[in-house]
Symmetry: C2
Subunit: 506 residues, 2 copies
């Protein structure tokens, strides 16, 4: 068999596995948006079958043979940025990760986390951490075993092995390097905001605005910033998300609270950022790593760019403010540009991560990172989690946790066995700020363009500098290529301090 034939068979097989996986993606979307309650039983059977088939096909010995055959030929990987080299690098990475786990452990992990998720639901409802603890302990033990199978670099730690599955290349040490300085400055900023005498107005946010009007408004905004509705949809779900594994068909969702239009707007711009990334991936490479998004953190950087860097900026509201009356009529009469801008920028230390503002959000993440790292290292027992959680919320955010349902049991992640995931959210915020500075430097008059409703220049820059690469670079390298520097807390802090300073009269 020639190397060309081996590569061609490998690519065909992997594209088929992707296609089968994309089917599961559509079923999952349907489950959250369209499926009637009676469909749950069949749907779980369909998804389990598709997961099994894709796993079986990707871990088959034939994939291993083809990979080895392709890797033996230097010319395929001579240029490490060529599509075959990128694809072989990432297929190898995924194949090794998938085959290093013994099937019995995969099966046990699925069984235990499925039960843990149910236990978590019940415990959270009853505000009783004690009934969740045994499941959490099992999940931790299994995660340690998974980490042992995957292994980690010298000088590293087991958490790295888990985190690598969410963000290839991420280690506790690399996270600490940026989170350390970030935490210090964030805690200081939030402290000054808490003591500030000037408070922005949140009147606009508290307006009662009908869901149907909100819907037309957020669809208009998402279309204006560049989400292409010929290649996607916007629907509703309890938890907004964006899915879709082909640039021609991206499904995103939002939600409507009639007493908080900023929630729907923020969610929609966030998901539109994910959607614009997915729509911008190179379609000719669809189904291979070269056509896939880099990582969770880079995906989050795209959603945060549009949600925060754009959507909470003074310039965005300069453009948006005159449009409000078209959707909400007299209800928004009397609200000036400054007041709607302020309403999108309230900072308020709070208990719940998913409701947190742009500034305090990252402290929620850091608390989780510190605790899960200690848990995986064995420095923190599951039984001591609530106490440590509550102490950190007091220290970093100045809030008291009344019970564990709104404390250490608020998120689903750990119950699903996902440890090493949380930092990708804050890494996304950091990348967003650093990329945005690079975009602004390249575009020159970016603020003026945003204020004029011209979002095309930013989208074009993101298309060319982030999206078009697919997985050509891993996240840390992409950051260096795009911004000339490694990831750093400075741009995010400049962004936050530059905005909240004037708003809170610091």
């Amino acid at each position: 068999m020639t190397t060309e034939a081996a590569y061609s068979e490998l690519e065909r097989r992997c594209r088929e596995i992707h296609l089968l996986g994309s089917t599961a993606g559509l079923l999952a979307w349907d489950q959250e948006t369209m499926m009637p309650p009676g469909g749950a039983e069949q749907r779980s059977g369909q998804l389990a079958l598709l997961a099994r088939l894709t796993h079986e096909q990707f871990t088959s010995p034939r994939i291993g043979e083809l990979l080895a055959r392709c890797e033996s030929e230097a010319k395929l990987t001579a240029d490490p940025l060529s599509p075959p080299a990128v694809n072989l690098r990432e297929w190898r990475y995924a194949y090794d990760r998938a085959t290093k786990l013994p099937p019995a452990l995969v099966e046990e992990f699925a069984r235990v986390t499925s039960k843990a998720k149910e236990a978590w639901k019940a415990a959270r409802k009853a505000k009783d951490f004690g009934t969740f603890r045994p499941s959490l302990e099992q999940t931790i033990a299994l995660n340690r075993r998974r980490a042992e199978c995957w292994g980690w670099a010298d000088g590293g730690e087991p958490w790295d092995a888990l985190a690598d599955g969410y963000e290839p290349g991420m280690t506790a040490a690399s996270v600490l390097a940026v989170f350390g300085p970030l935490r210090e400055r964030l805690v200081a900023l939030i402290g000054r905001i808490a003591e500030a005498r000037r408070r922005p107005s949140d009147r606009f946010r508290r307006l009662h605005l009908p869901a149907a009007q909100q819907r037309a408004f957020v669809q208009f905004v998402s279309e204006s910033i560049g989400f292409d509705y010929r290649r996607g949809r916007l629907d509703e779900s309890a938890h907004p998300f964006c899915s879709g594994s082909h640039p021609g068909d991206i499904r995103m969702t939002t939600r409507f609270h009639e007493d908080n239009v900023n929630d729907a707007l923020g969610s929609t711009m966030h998901e539109s950022g994910h959607g614009i990334y997915n729509q911008g991936l190179p379609v000719e490479h669809n189904g291979t790593p070269r056509g896939r998004s880099v990582s969770l953190a880079i995906h989050e950087s795209q959603s945060r760019t549009w949600e925060n860097q754009v959507g909470r900026s003074r310039e965005f509201w300069r453009w948006c403010h005159p449009h409000l009356a078209n959707f909400f009529g007299d209800a928004v009469a009397g609200f000036g540009e400054q007041e709607v801008y302020e309403s999108a920028n309230m900072v308020e230390p709070s208990l719940i991560r998913v409701e947190a503002d742009e500034a305090t959000y990252n402290l929620h993440i850091m608390i989780r990172f510190e605790l899960e790292r200690a848990i995986v290292r064995g420095d923190l027992a599951a039984a001591d989690l609530p106490g440590e959680w509550n102490a950190r919320y007091r220290d970093y955010l100045g809030v008291e946790v009344p019970d564990d349902a709104v404390g250490c049991m608020q998120d689903i992640h750990w119950s699903m066995g996902a440890m090493g995931y949380f930092p990708t959210y804050t890494l996304g915020n950091l990348y967003a700020a650093q990329f945005f500075e690079a975009a602004a430097a390249a575009i020159g008059d970016l603020p003026a363009r945003i204020a004029a409703g011209d979002f095309a220049a930013l989208k074009k820059w993101l298309n060319a500098n982030i999206h078009a690469h697919g997985q050509r670079y891993r996240s840390a390298d992409l950051c260096r290529v795009v911004t000339g520097k490694p990831l750093d807390a400075e741009p995010l802090m400049r962004h936050l301090e530059g905005k909240f300073g004037p708003l809170y009269g610091l």
Copy 2:
């Protein structure tokens, strides 16, 4: 391997194939209702892959081995109505049909009909049968080859082999036996209607009623007759359909013409009939023949029961009429019960099958049956199709065909290679009438119940006598079991003559 183990493995494999097929079903639903235009490319790849996987899995030698092993043990099939016996009978039937075709012929048929469909679209648009003819000729030749592979009974003909795939057991002779007397009486009835001096009023049908109001109305009606929205949905599509392969999740669609509320109502009741059948199948047998609907004709009998036997009856409109104002307000003021009932029962010989009324519809089908049978026998050349088509429309329906786009090219079926399909529509109408007479005899006060809006008795009767059986009986046997007689044209003609006699003053 024990027979039990063989049966159990066979069942597991077949249930998985069904589950994979159900995934394709959801993708097809999504394509018609939700998918943005940009999704077309990926979707065709997904559906082709799923079709290939399900075909490969079902035609694998392992299925043949397991079938043979199970069939060798008399106790599994001792009771021919037991679930294992029914399943083995139908799996064998499907396995033989699927494996009798050489893969090269399957592939050629898919390729040719895919092109023929495109040629048909273009030719219909251009009203030019000549450009479709070569594709049609290829399709006919391939269908003859397929028929040769499948074979037919002594005394039968090639058309039987094709038809058997749509309606197991159906032959040209069995169709002729009921269509012959039906045609004679139908042509006579329609002739008398055409000459009648009394014309029912169609004023109600021509009212302009907003789509949103129509939507609320038809959803109310479908729920009232028994479609369970916790186990299904109603959406919109260009061509109404009902899909879903699990009783817990049935997806149906309708459409709205603002100048014809009867169209949306008829479509919705029709699809609700399919939906109520699907929701009534035994869920414990889902994924096996024992849990599957009998055939296309029996499915059509369920949709026609609710659309015609119920939805165009005087009793239905007695119940429905007072509700109209709740949905349409003043627009329906002044319309009496008799007038809305009449509006649902206009008979008008016309060119287009899918727009035809309850009486003339069956003549459209007979014309297609006679022509496709002659084509497959080789008695009619493709080139002579338009002339024969137009002559029959003149003879049976008294209408002149102005061009082939509204003549012999109006339906998609032949272009897709589907020959032997059309008669199932009229068989459905015949079964509906015969079943409905049996239901009325069993229930006693069925008309009074319908007039009172109590549709539960009929639904319960259909659940118990048709739906619960799954594929326990094939259609002809089911008819004998349920009604005590073989299928016969009498009940349908009684229904039509009994209704249209008074309406047209015959």
